[in-house]
Symmetry: D2
Subunit: 344 residues, 4 copies
């Protein structure tokens, strides 16, 4: 029997991707959609400017949108996916959790909170049990789990694959697609024949979220990893797919061949949305590329390539689909993890 | 009286920029144009597919193109600018120098040769006197001076400005415009809605040319600087302007304010093509941007911005117009330096 | 002595271009800048997000922005340029005219009003005297003159040049740059790797404004031309420069050579912003192109090319810089016409 | 039992799409691949620079490429798909047909020959029987069928749907994607922030192929339709999907609602690659758009929208995926028609 799923912030770019991913999903069934008060009461078709490249599902089109409020959401919901703007998420996600809802959220608020698990299932599934600490501390019947920022998700799996060599330092430069800023986030005048070497707060997210994701949960509290990360973030004229240049220094010697093997052998999970191969490693020096490789593993794989011995250690490039693996798909995957681990 | 200037490889993208820059130049007069044998004997207008955004000068349009051969070039030439493909440059530049021509070359061949000065005048003008060593060793009446690769020119002036703090290590990621590959270098299918994390040999150029440029010439030989540089190069869908993310670690403590001051105070030269302000430093975090800032100082300035304390040291972004400051303008500037220093 | 000029709506995309054009203009001096109430009282530098590709002039940067209200504007103003959103223009332009101001407006409101001259000086300068009718009818001391829509300006000069052959029908398809919609008008998600075959009300503007521009003013009233025009408008991923495909049928036979001659011979004016050659005709079949040809005549020329005998008559392509010739430059040119004709 | 299919010109952009479409096709099995002599003897993986957005099928990767010569092609081939450059197609397609091969060709050579059927199955399937005339006249055991140019395929189905109203005249402006020129056909310097209002011979193809497609085959010879068509062709910075603006005049009155109904009701076929709905009609005025709508019907549907009463008749926009419906998919569909009609 399918888990009844609602979507908080269903009309935005990530909300639309969530609908696209959940609609054919065998384990989840969409039963609630929320948006701003201005949209409440409208059909989804009226409320949303549909923008993804498959038609809006017929039954979703006719669903009535609710306000984003625990009192307004229909009763038949087991799990909420949240793609709210972070300021809204900050305000309302706790009210849903307090009202007993389990929330798998893509919003950036509370990601670094001590008792909120920040999870990429293939990397740190065991952090999910921080939810027990959360429930104890907050007295919630519900629960709040977060997935990281899209640019963080792109490179952390490759770091996890290399962690056995002892990560010491990481430099990462990102070339990020415009969809990461939402539908209206980047104007065409800003980005055509251009690049913008700044995305607000993004560098800090890569630097801090990565350490939390690679950290250790001892059943009571979470220690962040001590790898030092420096990030530089750029927006480029690409629709989907974040490309990242990474340099790492490790305690143990790390050859190109060892790194490729570690990435290829890094296990995926049997969750429905996990790709068969988590990290797809290219031998061609000019791959991965956003338009060519963002849909590997239905947009849920990480692509890596360009591995070479750098002046300082190893350098390589990695890529992920920012609105699937990096946002909507990440939240769905966390929903699957919640289901498997008995939180629903 | 104007220096009579020829252009080797005049029909290519950099050759066209050379014409655009030399035509109004008060010190140089275009007297010879060469191209491949297939173009020899044609008017320039017939031989070249003109692509820069100002009309082809009338007198240049009607000039007859010569083969790229010392015997074919008209006699009335004091200085040759070379924008040949490197394989051609490798073969023919020495024959011109041996025949007595002074060559200011943008081609990548011989840049790292011990007796070939690699010069950005504002950075290492004194290296030009390596030409005396060159003439002694090679028995040339002519001379060969090189400007660095476009992506090298973009960040080396900022390193030079910070050298007083003791450069230890540099990581640099580049976001390079398509014009850097020449007119036919990047197909539209390769780059629209995409980025390519690889440019053949480019990373090595940044890593090695930067050390030569920052090195010391003692009148007899050149020592390369020992700063360690690691580069990662990307092509993005931008017409002109290379943007670079830089992280540096220095021996002395380096604050953001000290770095800004050092860059702003770094002197330009009084050569005609040198900009009034060599390094333009932005306080806005999202600048420089290629389309907005590539024409600063008529395309000859370096733009910097986004300075912040990084996890490891300082990080910032820099930008230069790759076909002006990074190629044609760099060769013209070296021509001006040759003139000022009595090599013509 | 310079005409003292104010700009209504000075912070928008066209307002910025107006500043860029007026600042070095020998006949006009910027003495007032207005914007929305939220910006009133700020310096221009604080109020505007400056986006054009030359730095903001120092003196303009420090000017104080006024509210867009006749009572708020400084007294020392002889002429107002208006680049207000049309809904705002509709409301406030008449109040300025009533208060005695002469307004040269780019806003789309009132363009088709019987007593408002719609002028491209090289095409229908004589329509400017409709202002006397306007003043009579409205009892204004001021006056209101309009320039047409950017896409209208692009093709009407070519029609005017061919009018002697008896225009019967015109089909025109436009490929319009994103800057035509203002800085925030087109999101990057809408247009990268895409085209949008619809621009609200644009087709009607081409179809009706062209007939007014080609009409006849008899000193008392204006008759519209009876040429029939059908337009289809598209937005494409280009920054500046509207390209248009035109098919025309004429009463008299019209050969390609006759059409080229008529366009080349069509006179420009001696107004300061008029280009030496109004219509630049290319013989190459693949020109004009936006990025290559939009800056002809400092952005004030019309480029035409691709003339060929069509199945039905003649077909050709034309191009103009939409924010210079098509907007800010058009308003400045009308200001120059007002000055020459004694309306200031 | 599957039809054994070879691909002439298998390494190019259309050849790659053919592989992508044929590999999962239940009725066809790829048994031969040809390319230039330089590639003969290599594995396909070595010979082709694979560029489409799904991985190269494993078994195809290891196939040996033959020269494009009847003597070099393996024996076990029932049907050849041809995506040769037209100059090569002109020379070699007849030699294959003479050698007994049935060829479904996308190459532009011979499309207008009197005895060569030019077919869009949903539009003029009955023209396929012109092959009997062809075999008689040429004495071939094989046969040659052509699909039209990509830009022709995009608008002809909409004309066919409206033919009952009596087509008199058609104006069509195209906005064509770069993939239509093949992988290397359009450089990035040509098209980023630009548009090119010329594609060699393309306008003539739309004007003449459309009349042949809409013509009548009486069992002995083919009469072309007498609708008059004028085309203007543009290349824009879009990867896939040709968008076209169409104006038509008809003998009978044609309302927007009648036109929509005629398009929606126009029948598709039961061939495997025919879409369920041939023409998808949008009511939204800003659709179809290339990136949003090119994959309708797995890239085999035609999208139409923006229907409105024009100054002269009806105007609308249409769109098709140029390398699927407009090229590789068109050839596969003709292969299916050949199979159904007993030509294999």
């Amino acid at each position: 029997m399918a888990v009844r799923a609602g979507i908080l912030g269903a009309t935005g770019a990530v909300g639309q991707r969530l609908i696209q991913l959940l609609e054919p999903h065998p384990e989840f069934e969409i039963t609630a959609l929320t948006a701003s008060d201005a949209s409440a009461g409208k059909t989804y078709k009226q409320a949303a400017k549909w923008r993804v490249d498959s038609p809006i599902p017929d039954d979703v089109a006719e669903m009535t949108v609710s306000a984003t409020d625990p009192d307004a959401v229909p009763d038949d919901v087991d799990l909420l996916f949240s793609s709210l703007p972070s300021s809204v998420g900050e305000a309302v996600e706790p009210t849903f959790c307090e009202a007993g809802y389990v929330v798998s959220s893509n919003s950036s608020n509370s990601r670094m909170a001590d008792d909120v698990p920040l999870v990429i299932p293939e990397v740190n599934a065991e952090h999910i049990d921080l939810l027990e600490v959360q429930r104890d501390e907050r007295g919630w019947d519900g629960a709040l789990v977060k997935n990281p920022n899209c640019s963080t998700i792109t490179f952390v799996p490759t770091l996890a694959a290399l962690a056995e060599f002892g990560l010491e330092s990481v430099h990462v430069a990102t070339l990020q697609a415009v969809s990461g800023a939402g539908y209206d986030g980047v104007t065409s005048m800003e980005i055509i024949d251009n690049a913008v070497p700044h995305i607000g707060s993004e560098e800090e997210k890569l630097e801090t979220e990565s350490r939390k994701l690679l950290g250790t949960f001892d059943g009571a509290s979470l220690s962040h990893d001590d790898v030092e990360v420096a990030a530089s973030c750029n927006r480029i004229p690409t629709i989907d797919g974040h490309l990242e240049n990474v340099w790492i220094e490790t305690e143990s010697e790390l050859t190109v061949e060892d790194a490729k093997a570690a990435m290829r052998d890094y296990p995926s999970l049997s969750l429905r949305s996990s790709p068969d191969q988590l990290i797809h490693v290219f031998d061609e020096p000019d791959r991965p590329q956003p338009r060519m490789d963002r849909t590997l593993g239905d947009g849920m794989a990480i692509a890596a390539g360009g591995l070479r011995e750098s002046t300082f250690g190893l350098q390589y490039n990695c890529l992920a689909h920012n609105t699937i693996r990096g946002a909507a798909g990440a939240s769905v995957l966390n929903g699957e993890l919640l289901l498997e681990n008995g939180y629903l």
